[in-house]
């Protein structure tokens, strides 16, 4: 069942187009993450769903109702802001009560609701404090609590964790995920943090310059990016890109990347490649590992002997920069044994994880 339908949505400020023909359908109970670099329009899209911004053209439906011209308060949504946006002069309790009070719900019904949600978020001991007396993490809990109390049809999150330190961010992330799993309310979550996007999303939407690049399950977007931008934007360390040409030779397809011929027989081409076509071949560092002698299931073993140029120790792994002809690629190696610089090692490529892009259109082939 479609809960939110965004149809042909455009938004411009003067001549600047910040959203271009956005179409998106969101099922009930989904957790949609809008991901993209700053200025890609993801926040604007969220504000439009909230009704805080007007769209230039297009329609928004929530729960089957056209809400394009409906005020935010009548859209049955709740929003959590990056800046928390708690009312500074009100106690935590009043903050959480505010929305329901504005809707004229009797206080006798509001009180137990607020207390229940406060207990759920472990902020019940803070109810009589002012926001200024709380830590960042506590404030964000209150902001989430304020949204929960309203029991809306849709939760909107606008980079809610960006103001928190790394450790707190990770634990709040888990909590938001738990909350969504227990409540099952549809949510749209804006972030520029790909880790948040990967872990929280049931589906993610990657945006760039006002356009949707790819919509899909996190693992799908991660492993099968539709274009070079998405491939490059996701993943840390980033995907390796090798420039080369397609070679068609007697029914066999391969990519000539200079230092090697990468067989592409197992690759599911979306469009048939042509001989000599200029391509960019992408492979994530975790698919470039020391050869173990056995290939991952379902693919031919493919090994190359490459010279390590540099290693970066990240704690859990060694990122090894390998010389590959006139190009360089990064592999994710175990920390033990550390590779010796300049001493060639046998490296296995997981070719089932390859992505091939047309060099001109930058689209996935």
């Amino acid at each position: 069942m479609i809960d939110i339908r965004i149809s042909d949505c455009n938004k411009s400020y003067g001549t600047l187009k910040v959203l271009k023909n956005i179409d998106l359908e969101i099922e009930r109970g989904e957790f949609i993450v809008l991901l993209g670099p700053s200025g890609c329009g993801k926040s604007t899209l969220l504000h439009i769903v909230a009704g805080l911004d007007r769209l230039t053209s297009g329609t928004i439906e929530i729960g089957g109702r056209d809400v394009t011209d409906v005020e935010p308060k009548d859209r049955d949504i709740a929003m959590v802001f990056q800046s928390y946006a708690l009312y500074p002069t009100m106690s935590v309790r009043r903050n959480m009560e505010f929305g329901l009070r504005m809707r004229g719900k009797p206080l006798s019904e509001i009180r137990p609701l607020v207390e229940e949600k406060a207990r759920m978020l472990h902020i019940d001991h803070l109810l009589d404090r002012r926001p200024s007396q709380l830590s960042g993490g506590q404030r964000q809990r209150v902001a989430i609590g304020r949204a929960l109390v309203r029991d809306p049809k849709v939760f909107l999150f606008d980079e809610p964790l960006s103001n928190l330190d790394a450790k707190l961010r990770a634990s709040m992330r888990t909590e938001i995920k738990k909350l969504h799993q227990s409540l099952g309310t549809t949510a749209i979550y804006v972030t520029h943090d790909q880790l948040e996007a990967m872990t929280l999303a049931t589906r993610m939407v990657v945006m760039k310059a006002g356009e949707i690049q790819q919509v899909g399950k996190p693992e799908e977007v991660y492993h099968r990016p539709v274009n070079l931008f998405v491939a490059d934007f996701l993943g840390n360390p980033g995907m390796n890109f090798m420039r080369g040409q397609i070679r068609l030779d007697g029914g066999r397809v391969s990519a000539d990347v200079g230092a090697a011929m990468l067989p592409l027989d197992g690759y599911a081409f979306a469009m048939p490649p042509s001989d000599g076509q200029a391509v960019v071949v992408g492979l994530r560092p975790e698919s470039v590992q020391p050869a173990t002698g056995q290939a991952p299931a379902g693919s031919e073993p493919f090994v190359l002997t490459l010279k390590p140029l540099l290693t970066e120790h990240t704690g859990s792994d060694n990122l090894v920069v390998l010389e590959m002809g006139d190009q360089e690629i990064v592999g994710k190696f175990p920390t033990d044994p550390p590779p010796k610089l300049g001493e060639p090692v046998t490296v296995g490529f997981d070719l089932s994880r390859l992505s091939v892009f047309d060099a001109a259109t930058e689209r996935r082939l």
Binding site: A50, P72, K73, F81, A85, Y87, T89, F98, R146
Partner: protein, 304 residues
């Protein structure tokens, strides 16, 4: 840095007045001297005003401007408040003090209220043309009042408000709006937009957000606006003398008439008492709210 090293001999204990300290002491002395002079400059007239107002006329005529009264008397105050002749009536200042209050209190409250709402709308609810409206209001701050005297006179006469306290209220409200709007608008710019958005989603409208969320954040700027407007309106002479009649004249006009009346002996003690009475409300306001005033004036500066 005070730790002696092997190459520099330790400074003897006796010469505690190091060059550095000596310099600091000198700066401080000069500073305090300067402050004392400035304080004397401002407090001196007030002292003369107060001491003269308690002297009988005989003491004043004997000279000794700076002397304290030998035989203090409250009579000048009583005369100034209830008996002094101003124009053709001899009822003292009390009626005019009432006029001033009747004029200033509503004019201040209304102009501050409107300025606050204007500033809130301009800062937080941008509408097409908001920038132009704001620019026009800013320009309004620089209109010299002399320029508008004649048109205002015509307007007030047309409205049937010429010579009335209500007419003065209207004029002060209108000419107070640009400055109060600017003050509030600049302050409200620092109120986070997310707060307004959150409240809109929570179901609050324009005025709910204003009264429940924005105003409670703004006591300091409210105080600044109140003080600024009250001092301006209470002390205004130009509009008062132009648009009032003897029955509706505010304090400033009455004080002028009292001090400048040309018959009889000049009763300096009465004049001084009248002056203090005229200045008292603004002084009291500063004493009561001055702390907030200072805080309000610097609040924006620190936050940017």
């Amino acid at each position: 840095m005070s730790a002696p090293t092997a190459t520099t001999p330790p400074i003897p204990r006796s010469s505690w007045l190091t060059p550095r300290r000596r310099k600091a002491l000198l700066t401080r002395t000069v500073l305090y001297l300067l402050l004392a002079v400035v304080a004397f400059f401002f407090a001196g007239p007030l002292y003369i005003l107060l001491s003269t107002s308690f002297k009988p006329m005989s003491e004043i005529q004997a000279g000794g401007l700076m002397a304290l009264p030998h035989a203090p008397t409250a009579q000048p105050w009583i005369t100034a408040w209830g008996e002094a002749c101003i124009g053709i009536t001899c009822g003292g200042l009390k009626g005019f003090f009432g006029n001033s209050m009747m004029m200033a209190v509503p004019a201040v409250l209304i102009s501050v209220m409107i300025g606050a709402i204007n500033g809130y709308a301009l800062a937080k609810w941008p509408f097409p043309g908001a920038r132009f409206v704001f620019a026009a209001l800013v320009a309004g701050n620089f209109v010299p009042f002399q320029v508008v005297l004649a048109p205002v006179a015509v307007t007030l006469r047309t409205l049937g408000l010429f010579g009335s306290v209500q007419g003065l209220i209207l004029i002060h409200v209108i000419y107070g709006i640009p400055i109060t709007t600017m003050l509030f608008r600049n302050f409200f710019l620092s109120v986070p937009n997310d707060l307004i958005k959150a409240a809109r989603i929570d179901g609050a409208g324009f005025f709910w957000i204003f009264f429940r969320i924005v105003l409670p954040l703004s006591p300091s700027v409210i105080v600044v606006a109140l003080i600024l407007q009250f001092t301006g309106i209470w002390n205004d002479f130009l509009f008062a003398v132009s648009f009032s009649n003897p029955a509706s004249a505010p304090m400033t006009v009455a004080l002028n008439n009292l001090v400048n009346s040309n018959f009889g002996v000049k009763e300096y003690n009465v004049h001084m008492a009248a002056t203090v009475i005229a200045a008292a409300p603004t002084l009291i306001l500063y004493v009561l709210l001055g702390r907030y005033f200072l805080r309000g004036m610097t609040a924006g500066a620190v936050k940017g």
